[in-house]
């Protein structure tokens, strides 16, 4: 149908062009210029939106979790939304840097570093919470009662150095206690829960992670969390952000934000949230991520390398 419509339109244009060229060529030239300028806009409106999700989970799991949301957005926007997964964090970040995604869901550190290119429109609400603090854990029997006692000790972090709650926030706490990089030995577990398990099994003297980590079922089922204690914690930090490309038409960006925020209002939206293993999406603005930006800057210095 669309193709037929274009053909009819071209035929009409041809007829008009023929008439105009004969009598009013200056006006015709103007009209033609405007038509050509209008064509890309029409084309852009039909281009699918790319939704990128950071590889916190395996690609298969990511697809299962967020395809319902992509479909939901497609239906609501009347425009195709395609879910894009990444092989690893490096390739994901490369796509972010090159602004391949129209909509992106990543961690707070990613947003802080890409805020020039992307604008946050919402955040995940997990376990019924909107924010979580970064924390440092120790074994109760370790005798460690202050962060400064960790000097020269081994600290295990979950994930990598771009993990907001498992690395950047604990590092911020360590810095506040005067411990800079090199004044402690750092280990990295493959995931935040494993950092606590490593601590429990005495693989390190302390572990960094979100303050909700100790209450996670995966942790509580694996170890006796009563033997661990939280040594220090940061201020609450808003959860994982949802952002759109800053170059996106404002109306479209607003529509996306509106759809995300209203997910909890209907059954279909609730199922989408359930599939994404989140309890809701709250409204967020760039300012809400200033604490994250401050901690990141403290730990790594000024970054935001997105082009």
């Amino acid at each position: 149908m669309k193709y037929l419509f274009i053909r009819e339109r071209l035929a009409a244009l041809t007829a008009q062009l023929t008439g105009l060229l004969r009598y009013q060529w200056p006006a015709t030239l103007l009209w033609l210029t405007l038509a050509i300028m209008a064509t890309p806009i029409t084309h852009a409106a039909d281009t699918p939106l790319i939704m990128g999700v950071f590889p916190r989970n395996k690609a298969v799991e990511t697809t299962a979790m967020y395809t319902p949301l992509a479909n939901y957005l497609s239906e609501r926007l009347g425009r195709k939304v395609i879910l894009a997964t990444s092989r690893d964090f490096e390739s994901f970040w490369k796509e972010v840097m090159e602004r391949r995604y129209d909509i992106v869901h990543y961690n707070q550190y990613h947003y802080v570093n890409s805020a020039q290119a992307y604008k946050v429109v919402g955040y995940n609400q997990e376990f019924g919470k909107s924010a979580v603090a970064g924390a440092i854990y120790v074994r109760k029997d370790s005798g460690i009662t202050s962060v400064s006692q960790l000097r020269g000790r081994t600290i295990v972090f979950g994930g990598g150095k771009d993990a907001m709650l498992s690395y950047i926030a604990p590092r911020f706490l360590l810095m506040q206690a005067g411990l800079r990089e090199g004044e402690f030995s750092a280990k990295f577990a493959v995931s935040p829960p494993n950092a606590l398990l490593a601590l429990y099994h005495r693989q390190a003297d302390a572990a960094g992670g979100g303050d909700i980590l100790i209450d996670l079922p995966a942790v509580k089922n694996a170890i006796n969390t009563q033997e661990l204690t939280r040594l220090a914690a940061t201020e609450p930090l808003l959860f994982l952000p949802w952002a759109v490309k800053r170059s996106m038409a404002p109306k479209l960006a607003e529509s996306i934000q509106s759809i995300l925020l209203e997910l909890g209002d209907n059954e279909t939206g609730k199922n989408v949230l359930k599939a994404a293993m989140t309890t809701g999406i709250g409204k967020a603005s760039d300012k809400d991520y200033d604490p994250h930006r401050r901690m990141t800057t403290a730990v790594f210095g000024v970054q935001d390398t997105a082009k």
Partner: protein
């Protein structure tokens, strides 16, 4: 462990420990501290030894289970390159292991049984396809052979069954060839290659069925060559055979395509002519047959002319069975032969009447001896000069209860034709011997007894039977004289010579009866030694007036003297005949002039009246006496 991925270690431990027979799975670091563990709380032993909370205390669990026989403790080192990262401790329930062992054993046995079953089924089907099916085909083919159908068996395989099938096919081919040969042997005449009697009868039977359905007539022609025996005797059997072949071929050229000619045996042929239409057509065919038979043949460099008599029987007029048609055609042929050689005669109602009479007589004759209807009479023989009595010819009489006395000329040929003559002749011999013995025992010398014997009796070891009778009744050999007609001499010379030799060696007197009525071949007189020659009554009858008879009798007497034979004249009825014979030197005579045939009682009276004394044993001079040198005078 290197990545501190304890969740994954837990998953691994849980996966291992969740196996049915695993009680616990624990990963310990080099210091022996458990860093990942899983204990099966559902295990019976764990339930028995620990409360739910205690099972989380891994060191205690390991310590407690350490010496328990119910658990088999295993440990596996965990290394990365050369670095030991820890150990994986696994406790396995012995009972579960045993249960698992038995379960596995049962499963494996079940699998093995299934495999065996599968293989058995597979072998069964392979065996069925490769062995049973071919064998069944062979059995079926063998059954077919049993039912006369020759079904070849496919021979694809190169194994023993293939060889068996090929051997079977070879056997079938051999049987077919043999069967064809047997069929030819059974249904075709070896000499002429014409259908034989069996096939002829079969074809006539088929033709009866066909003619009955289509209400048609057909004819059976019975052909018998006239005097074929003469051809054989004079030109030899090889020429006789050639003649039969030539006649068979010639007959085939004159019959229609639908007609069949068959050789019944000897010089007898039969022609079956289906759908003959009427008698005229049959007569035309009969004429062609006679002409074909009588066409001169060039055999062994000599021109041979044969003739044949043809008897014709029509279906359904002259019989509706094979037996009737053949018998009637045969009867008609005999009628033709008795009428004129080289003629053809249709079977008629009169023939049928005669045939029935003949058959009735045959049946009556069969019972005659047992019913006492047969008797023997005695006709004395005398010297022509002086009238001295020497003995008697034994004559057979048949007193039929309804038909009265039946002439031997009537029933003897019948008895010879049916073979009854053997029993009758034997009866006559025994009766004669018994009578002679009775007279002898009564002190009466009966002289000798001349007994007629048939050519048929000669074929049945006559000499042995006579020797037996002579022994049983203590009869001297000179007391018996055997009268033999020339027809005896027409049979197999070697057998006749052998029998005559045996009889002569036994001391019996041999007489050639009815001389002059048959072939009267002088060669017989030369070849076979006889003692007596009897002139037939037909020659005596015209004496002394009939010139031909006179010349003939004189010639016979002259010839007999030349061969040193005694001569007896039969049928002497008047004195002139007797005087003539006496004057011509005939030794003895018999006839109504001298004495009529008489019963045993009358002959006894005759003998007593003659007062012939018993001592010496042979008071009356025998016609032929044995000399000390063994020859007869």
């Amino acid at each position: 462990m290197l990545a501190l991925d304890f969740l994954r270690l837990n998953d691994y431990t849980r996966e291992v420990a969740s196996q049915p027979d695993v009680v616990y799975g624990v990963i310990v670091n080099p210091a022996g501290m458990a860093i990942s563990s899983y204990v099966d709380d559902t295990d019976a032993l764990i339930k028995q030894l620990f409360r739910p909370a205690e099972s989380k205390d891994i060191p205690k669990v390991l310590k407690t289970l350490e010496n328990r026989d119910e658990v088999i403790h295993l440990q596996f080192p965990i290394t990365h390159n050369t670095e030991t990262l820890g150990r994986f401790l696994v406790g396995i329930s012995r009972q579960s292991l045993q249960s698992e062992f038995y379960r596995q054993l049962i499963v494996q046995l079940a699998v093995l049984a299934a495999i065996v079953l599968f293989l058995s089924v597979a072998i069964h089907f392979v065996f069925r396809h490769n062995v049973l099916f071919p064998i069944r085909k062979l059995i079926s083919a063998a059954d077919d052979v049993g039912h006369g159908q020759f079904t070849r068996v496919e021979t694809k395989s190169q194994d023993e069954l293939g060889f068996l099938a090929r051997a079977f096919n070879t056997m079938i081919e051999a049987i077919q060839r043999e069967r064809a040969a047997l069929h030819r042997q059974a249904n075709f005449d070896a000499l002429t290659s014409l259908p034989n009697r069996m096939m002829a009868l079969d074809r006539i039977k088929l033709e009866i069925s066909r003619a009955k359905r289509s209400s048609q007539r057909f004819a059976v022609f019975f052909i018998d060559l006239d005097n074929f025996k003469t051809v054989n005797d004079s030109l030899g059997h090889a020429v006789g055979d050639e003649l039969l072949v030539a006649i068979g071929n010639r007959v085939q050229t004159v019959i229609r395509e639908s007609d069949i000619v068959a050789r019944l045996g000897g010089d007898e042929f039969v022609v079956l002519a289906p759908d003959i239409g009427n008698e005229i057509k049959a007569e035309e065919l009969a004429e062609r047959l006679i002409k074909a038979v009588s066409t001169p043949q060039e055999l062994a460099g000599r021109k041979v002319v044969a003739s044949g008599s043809v008897g014709i029987a029509l279906y359904p007029d002259n019989g509706e069975t094979v037996e009737d048609l053949m018998a009637n055609a045969d009867n008609a042929m005999y009628q033709a032969k008795s009428t004129r050689d080289g003629s053809a005669i249709f079977f008629t109602a009169e023939m049928n009447v005669r045939l029935r009479e003949r058959m009735q007589m045959e049946q009556d004759l069969n019972l005659a001896a047992g019913l006492g209807q047969l008797t023997i009479n005695f006709q004395p023989l005398f010297d022509t000069a002086g009238g001295r009595h020497h003995g008697a010819e034994v004559l057979l009489r048949w007193n039929h209860p309804e038909k009265g006395s039946i002439s031997p000329a009537t029933f003897i040929p019948l008895a010879e034709a049916t073979g009854q003559i053997v029993a009758i002749g034997d009866w006559v011999l025994e009766q004669a011997c018994r009578s002679w013995s009775a007279w002898h025992n009564a002190g009466i010398d009966p002289g000798f007894l001349a007994i007629n014997v048939s050519r048929v009796q000669f074929r049945k070891r006559l000499s042995a039977r006579i020797a037996e009778l002579m022994s049983n009744y203590r009869i001297p050999s000179q007391a018996l004289e055997l009268e033999i007609t020339e027809s005896v001499l027409l049979d197999d010379h070697s057998q006749v010579a052998e029998e005559l030799g045996s009889l002569r060696a036994a001391g019996l007197i041999l007489s050639l009866d009815d001389f002059g009525t048959g072939y009267s071949s002088l060669s017989y007189l030369k070849r076979f030694r006889f003692d007596v020659l009897k002139i037939d009554r037909s020659f005596v009858n015209g004496l002394p007036d009939d010139r031909d008879d006179v010349l003939l009798v004189k010639a016979i007497l002259a010839m007999a003297k030349g061969f040193d034979l005694k001569v007896v004249a039969e049928g002497v009825e008047n004195q002139q005949q007797l005087s003539f014979l006496e004057n011509q030197g005939c030794d003895r005579a018999q006839g109504f002039l001298l004495a009529k045939p008489m019963s045993e009682a009358s002959y006894t009276d005759f003998l007593e009246e003659r007062q012939i004394a018993l001592i010496p044993p042979r008071l009356s001079a025998p016609l032929v006496q044995r000399t000390s040198s063994g020859s007869f005078t």
